[in-house]
Structures are given as structure tokens and as C-alpha cells.
Symmetry: C2
Subunit: 429 residues, 2 copies
Amino acid sequence: MVERREPIAVGDAVQRVMEFAFQEKIEFVPLLQAHGRFLAEEVAADDDVPAFNRSPYDGYAIRAIDSQEANSEDPVTFHVVGEIGAGFLFEKEVGFRQAVRIMTGAPIPKGCDAVVMLELTNSFEENNQMYMSIKRSFQAGTNISYKGEDIQKGEILLNKGQYINPGVVALLATFGYDQVPVFRKTIVGVIATGSELLEPSESLQPGKIRNSNAYMIMAQIERAGATVKYFGKFSDNLNQCIEVVKKALQEVDILITTGGVSVGDYDYLPAIYEAIGANVLFNKVAMRPGSVTTVAQRDGQLLFGLSGNPSACYVGFELFARPIIREAQGSKQPHLRKERAVLGSDFKKANPFTRFVRGKAFYQNGQLVALPSGFDKSSAVSSLVEANALIVLPGGSRGYETGMQVDVLLLEDLQGSEWPWNNIVKSYR
Amino acid sequence: MVERREPIAVGDAVQRVMEFAFQEKIEFVPLLQAHGRFLAEEVAADDDVPAFNRSPYDGYAIRAIDSQEANSEDPVTFHVVGEIGAGFLFEKEVGFRQAVRIMTGAPIPKGCDAVVMLELTNSFEENNQMYMSIKRSFQAGTNISYKGEDIQKGEILLNKGQYINPGVVALLATFGYDQVPVFRKTIVGVIATGSELLEPSESLQPGKIRNSNAYMIMAQIERAGATVKYFGKFSDNLNQCIEVVKKALQEVDILITTGGVSVGDYDYLPAIYEAIGANVLFNKVAMRPGSVTTVAQRDGQLLFGLSGNPSACYVGFELFARPIIREAQGSKQPHLRKERAVLGSDFKKANPFTRFVRGKAFYQNGQLVALPSGFDKSSAVSSLVEANALIVLPGGSRGYETGMQVDVLLLEDLQGSEWPWNNIVKSYR
């Protein structure tokens, strides 16, 4: 069966995938495992930060009024009536010309309204009593971190969908989030197709190649932050393939097959989709590489049929699968980060379709430069090694020259972009 | 004991840490777990890629010479003597005006030297035999992916220290790396200090705060790609602290303590370092925040004493601990990525020391812009939430204005920088 396919624009294809909404799934993970996930609930302060007036320095807590007469010629002496470390309370009220030795983070004793830094004091002992003197006066409020100064009780601190970086972890710890509500990781299954494929552990045989695509895709899935399940290789028997797909769909949110989607006699995918009642969203995209990417949906699950060609497979995943995976995990910027860059070398190859050229993007004096990888045959695995960007070269041009402005999509970036295809959907046909 | 400390320049401090060399530690991990690690050995191609001449398309393999007389008025007809899928071999030699139906990835049959794409052929059946005809001639070599075209046997493909991205995973799979030699992850222990600290699971008590620093640091350690071991909180007893440190050092490469390094009566760290025979590399750095960062070494291990102040702790880790952690794991660009940016708002606060201001860096029309976080009190945990960069503001200035050029260090970037302190070590005093 040779199937005829109608190509659609890249932006339209991405949109068809993104219109698919997964059911929101929340789980609680220990705080130590929350880094890199997305918050599934908003977080409000359940108390002020600081929760009490405290000292930001080591020194002496005093009543500011007692210091008013101090000057370099007539120091004022305070009786040191106690000391207080962080985590402890000073129970008595501090009175006239009394001081309390206080450590960073300790609560300000009752009666005190200023802290004098240790370096500005002179301490001494007399008759078994401790004293300290100062040579200047201090205003009330000096060196006090006030209750609620950083965060006030009830304040919304973190929104649903917030990426959990180390700073967020600190806030979650502050407010007692021992367990953190996060979006569940998307579970993505992978099935390889192709009689020619050997596992990496197998020895080479005539006419066969090792299965690099499935392992590459699994690394891409992991980079996107999802959980991988590998179901191995399809058999050559259609009915067995259908059973494997049905079984896999019981365990995953998304199922990716690589290979077997070329227009060829041996392609089982259309038959499999039909057998399981999947609805094809599109099966050809106006782009290179990756034009024979198929996406289908069935009962709240997505099926991606990526090309068996390494570059096409790679690009198909990043453009179409990554955004929906990251959105399902809570990201509000699920697409590859798009930036403007200057083309660092010529790319003269004309093409009627938009090209996504693997390349290296780097900053030169604050300006982003994009350099196409030398060898852009779509079968070239080696050009993927150095690639950290896809350079977007809209079709219909006679080629691109050094110094031209281009869009690049950054592959190793987790910040991502919101919808990046506005205004360019049409031109990317 | 109040200790006097001599501040050293930031670049000097980083250098003292980086001069410390960990013993190289290698481990093998399954290919599926290799993503994000660094290769510990170079990888050479053990075979050509492709390993045999193969077809990049679905079509018919022919002898080009047989097509020379074909034109649109006089098509040439070939006898289809077989078909061959990817992964299979065609055993016979193909002769005069014979063709073999061939699928993408299948080896070119003996005798053939061109592949005609399916779309350019017309196939039909006669007397139970299959035939196909073409209306033009083809050159020898048309549509053949030649053995070794992508990679030649013996070629060094990946260097020691190569970051393992999905493209690298594909290459490793291609060459049968079922198990991958990678640098072992650095093991970093964390001990919190401070009588005021509660675990996130505990209820607030007067004068106490929840331990946010240790959890923040553990997320930073994870972001740096290392393995975390948490040893909880120091007791108030010096001898017990020494025992905990000794025990921890048996299990880790690096030990980080947070808090307790301020100049105060309750600081046990100097006594602990002395008791275990650790040699202090520096204990004060000319910068804000994070000036009271201590680094010590002992028998091939590093000890970091980071401030108890959240921002100082955060910055101290990123500047001093992150690079040595990433270098030990094989990264050749272990430092935070440094870029030039335009300051997006005023920062008028004068300071004699270099400041590392938490902020947000983003691209605007291809230009990097850095915006200081609103609230830069060093105790402010909330300003760490949105920070993805440290803005470097050298000391000695009367303040910085919108539009000025500044260096920024990008926190959420894994590419990193090589040594970023050249030419600026002195000015960063």
C-alpha cells in the first residue's frame, strides 16, 4: 500500500498536537526530589519571613534610647545581662543600659530596638560581670530584620506551573513543604521498527545496523524531563505489532515509534492505527528533515510515528513531541527556545520547504551566532553530536549567506518558549 | 574566638579551589543512563557508517548502464527479479535489464550501482512476472549511500570529556556501547549548622526557622549533576560535630556545611578543621554576598563552609563549589557560563566590593538583557526564585545605570564556560 499524503505547515502541525489536552495528573514527591519539576499548586506563605524580629549580625541588642549620649570622648557603658544564640529565646525584658550579646539570626530580646555590630563595641569584665561600651549613638531600628520584611503571611509566593529551581526549593523548605505537589512526569513509550535493527549489545551482521534512533529518542525524552519505557522492536507480524501497541498504550501517555513510516511496502503503521482506532492528526509536514512525521490520537493518548532517518527522527521529536510532553508536565513555555541569530556561514542549498538545519549556536560579544553543522545529509548521525540548535531556514529562498538574520531553536535549553510560530506559520510552509 | 580574616579576590579564590585535583574516577553505566554525563574515554568508530552501500530511498536497484537508452518516448523495461527490505540481503547478482525492488536502508544488491525512486517508475505484471519501466537514464551512483560516507572506521568520533547529549547517545548505540565509560558523579555531602534550624517536616517554634539552605544547596548540587548525601544537622557539641565530619568524609568527595561560618562565638568550623587536620585555602573573599566563604582541603577531599545567609550560601556554591564538582565529573567548561549583557535597570547601590546580584537574564531582539531582582537584601530568599543569573558588578563604582554593559553568569545553563576570570581577577577585588 503506497499512501498519498498532503503536507501541512510546521506551525499548523504543532498546533494540532498542542490542541490535544492531557488530563492533569498530580503527584507528591519528597522535597529532595522536587528540583527540575513544575509545581502543581500555588504556594502561599503560611507565616511571615522572618517569623520574628531578628538580628542580621553578631553584636549586642540594646535599647537605642540608652545610646543617645554616647560619643567618642564619653562612651556609654552597658551591663551585659545575657547572651542569645540563633534558635534560642531571651526570656527577660531588657532594661536601662542593659545589653544582650546576640548572634546572627537570634530573636531581638523584649525591650531592645537596635543591634550594635560587634566590631563597634568594646567589651570588658569587672567584678565577674560583663560590660561593653560604645562610642556613638544608634537609631531605633538599627540592624533589625523585621518580622515579615521578606515575605508576608498569606502572600502568594509561587504560581501553579512554577519551575522548581534551587531558590524555589529554599522557599518550599521555609514553608514546610516536606512533600511537594508536582505535575506527574509524562510517561513516553518507545518502539523501534525495522528488520535491519540490532540492539547496541549485539554484534554487527551483514545488511543490519544497530538501533541508534530509539536510544537517541530516549535521551531526548529524558532531556525533555519525561519518563521512558522501552518496548523493544516490532516483529514482522502485523497482528503481533498491534498487540504490542495495545499493551504499550496501557502503560504510557505517549507512544513513539521510530522508523517504518516511510512510504514503502513494509510500513505497518497505518494499519496499526486503523486497527486500534487511532485518529491521524497529520502524516506529512512541509519541512526537511522530518516530512514523514505522523501524529495520531486515541482515547486521551498520543501516538507519534517518527521517521527512521536519524535527523528526521530527532527534529520530529523536538518540534512535535517535546512541547506536548513539557506542557503535560506543567511547563508554560514548552516549546524549544527561539532566538534571533546571525548566520555564521553560508548555507547555499536551495529548498522549496523550510529546513531545520542542525548547528551550533554561541554568543560572540553578546550576539548570538549560528553555525550550520558541516554535513547536513539527513542520515548523518555524526552531525547531531555538536548540535545545540536547529537553524530555521524558511523555504523558497535560493540559499542563505553569512551575516543574515535567522531564527534558531535552542536544544539544550530548559527555559523554553511560549508559542514560537506566530507570524511565521505561513512563511514556514 | 573571634578570628581575623584576610579577604582575597574572587578569581584568586576560585583558582585556589581549581588547583585542587580530584583523582579521576570512571564507571560504566548502561547506555540508557548515560545522557547528561561526560565520556571518560575517547570513542573511535569500530566500523564504517554506513557499514555497507545502502539505499536511502524506496525504489528499484538497477545497473545504471541499462538505463542509458531510456527516454519519455521509449521507456526501458526491467524485469523485477526480487525485492529486498532493510535488514535483508539479496543473494544473487543482478544482470542485464534486471531490477530489484529495494526499501530504504537495504543493502544495494551485487551488480547494481543506482537506485531509482519509486515515484519515477511504472510497475506492471505480465505472465506472473513483475516488471517496471523508466523514462529517463540514471548515472552510476545515483541514490546510493556509500559505505563509510558518514563515518570511516578508525575515526575518532568523541573525545574524552564529551558531554553526552542525545546525538552522542545515537553514536554510542551505533558503535555498540551497551555500557558507557563515564566519569563517576561527584558525591557531595551536606551538613547544616545552627541551633535555630528545623527540618521542613517540623512545625515552627518561637525563635526557630526551617532549614531552607541545606535543601537549596542540595538542589544546586543536583543541578550541577552531582550526587547528594544529607547528614542532617550538627549537634551543639564540638566533639560530636568532629565525629560527624569524620564519618561523612568517609562517604563523600566534597563536604559542604552551611551556616556557622559567621564571625561569632558559636562557630565550630575552625576548631573542626583543626581537629581533622584540614588545610584552609581561604576563609574570606572580597565580594558580596558570600564574603565569609571558607574552603579547606584534607587528604584529597574538599570542605566548603558556606554562609548561613541564603544568598551568600547560594552564590558561594555557584562560584566555588560548582566548578570543581563539574570538573571532577569530566566537564571542560565547569564554570558558570559568562556572557555580556545590557543592564535593564539601575543599580545605584555603591559598594567597595564586587557584587554578584541575583537577577533575570533574557534576550531581547538577540541582545542579552540583565535585570536585577528587586529586593537584594542578602537574607531575601524570595529573590532567588526568579533568578537565572548573577549580575557581576565590580566594586569601587558609585553605582550602575540602565544600558551599561555588564558581565552575567547564567545559572540554568549546562554548557558552562572555561576559566571566566581572566583579565578581571584584579578588578574584581
